[in-house]
Amino acid sequence: MAFDAQLKMTGPVAKITLTGSLDAASAPQFKEVIEQAAAQTPEKVVLFMEKLDFLASAGLRVLIFAKQKMGAGVDIYVVGSQGPVLGTLEMSGFHHSVYIQDSWAEA
């Protein structure tokens, strides 16, 4: 499936919905959306991954970039990641750097 990343700001929360396959070919597109989100100086970043069907290490690299770009005070949430994608995140130790959740509830 073709990759897409849609950004929506809800107050100070940057919400990005990811669709399709994220690898070296699509990572630059994701990185650009992260930059757009960072320009909004959000307090939180939520990545909705229910529709992400594939995640390669190039995508993980953008997650690291996001963490650095947003700054230490901004929490990053990964919501709804599917089996193998979640498996990759955990195998790579990302559950130490981002909050992995099944769902997102507005505060």
Partner: protein, 142 residues
């Protein structure tokens, strides 16, 4: 299966991924195995495209072929780019120093995803070609 030969650019990754998915389907691999194989091939193909050709400033092709036996599905990636052994991490010194910390870690991470995911992986350089070979065992039916 018939080999698929493509120009080694990032655009090739999608077709390579589709080829692996189809090979896994023909071999009867389950979803988890199919995904792991697709990921491993994507990681290595990405290295071939970026390190083997792009960074060297050259262009070339990458070929993928799947072979199904009773025991396993074997996928072989072949290219004529710079000799690049993904298992070695032997980067030239200046390049190594130039890489930010996160890059170095991620390089190892991609290879870790390969090795942890597939049942067998090997690399060799032969007659001017890099050969990356992945194997996934087929489930034995009673």
């Amino acid at each position: 299966m018939n080999p698929l030969r493509l120009p080694a650019t990032l655009d090739a990754l999608e077709e390579i991924g589709n080829y692996v998915i189809e090979a896994a389907r023909q071999a009867g691999l389950d979803q988890k195995a199919s995904y792991a194989l697709r990921l491993a091939v994507d990681e290595i193909a990405t290295n071939v495209i970026t390190h083997g050709y792009e960074e060297a400033g050259t262009k070339g092709d990458i070929t993928i072929v799947g072979e199904i036996t009773d025991a396993a599905l074997t996928v072989t990636l072949t290219d004529q780019g710079v000799p690049f052994d993904p298992l070695s991490h032997r980067l030239p010194e200046e390049d190594d120093l130039a890489l930010p910390l996160e890059e170095r870690q991620i390089g190892g991470l991609g290879i870790m995803l390969v090795i942890n995911g597939v049942d067998a992986f090997s690399y060799r350089y032969e007659n001017g070609s890099n050969l990356n070979v992945f194997a996934m065992n087929r489930r034995s039916f009673p």
